[in-house]
Amino acid sequence: MPEMIEKRRNGALWLGFLLALGAWLCNVVFFVNLPGHRAIPWLSVLLAVAALVFLAIGLQRVFGQPRVYRGKILSSILSLVSLLLAGVAIFAFVHARALPPSAGAPQVGQKAPTFTLADTTGQAVSLDQLFAPAAGDSQGIPPRAVLLIFYRGSW
């Protein structure tokens, strides 16, 4: 029987792949430190979910209407790669937000707990000492404020 229908390109699958790639790339953007970086995690999941929707449409086309859409093998490979990228993006989103509530942490208006810790040379430094004038400051002006940045480490 002659082929009556001209085979069509499966745009949904490629769109799904591009969205999944975008979702994954969102995780690289954090290192650029853009002004709107607070929205990027949400953009990442949004792209990942949209990618999954288009992948489902694309796969449904290839396997549901094989007479119209070609490329079962290419579609499968593309879907697998896209699924991996979208999966990583969703996993990163969930993992990055798994943080303790820190309900007992000092809040605005409360006193910061005192401490004494070793600096990079092993010298003990207290919070009060941080408010002493800097060693190189000839005018002896003490700092008005100290910024304490707690970070995860292993950089």
């Binding site: 990055a96 809040q107 605005v108 910061a112 810790l117 008005r144 707690f150 970070y151 292993s154 950089w155």
Partner: protein
Amino acid sequence: MAISVDPPEVSRALSQKAGYTFSILSDPNAEVIRRYDLLHVGGGPDGHDVARPAEFLVDSSRMVRWVNFTEDVRVRARADEMLATARGLR
């Protein structure tokens, strides 16, 4: 002032590599991190306990003037935001 569970040697290497002019304090047993209720049990890359990211602006009377607890470890307070907040203190 940055604080983590990294030992002084690791912090020194980071400071030199990144060219930081501020000091980094080490809290390897997470005593101060616990005091600030910031311990993230098993949150480290190899499952050790670390500090969850948090920033505090403390004035000379030791009063906390500004805090930031991120909901997502990938989203940290920007340096320019923190500097602007510090400059706005009176």
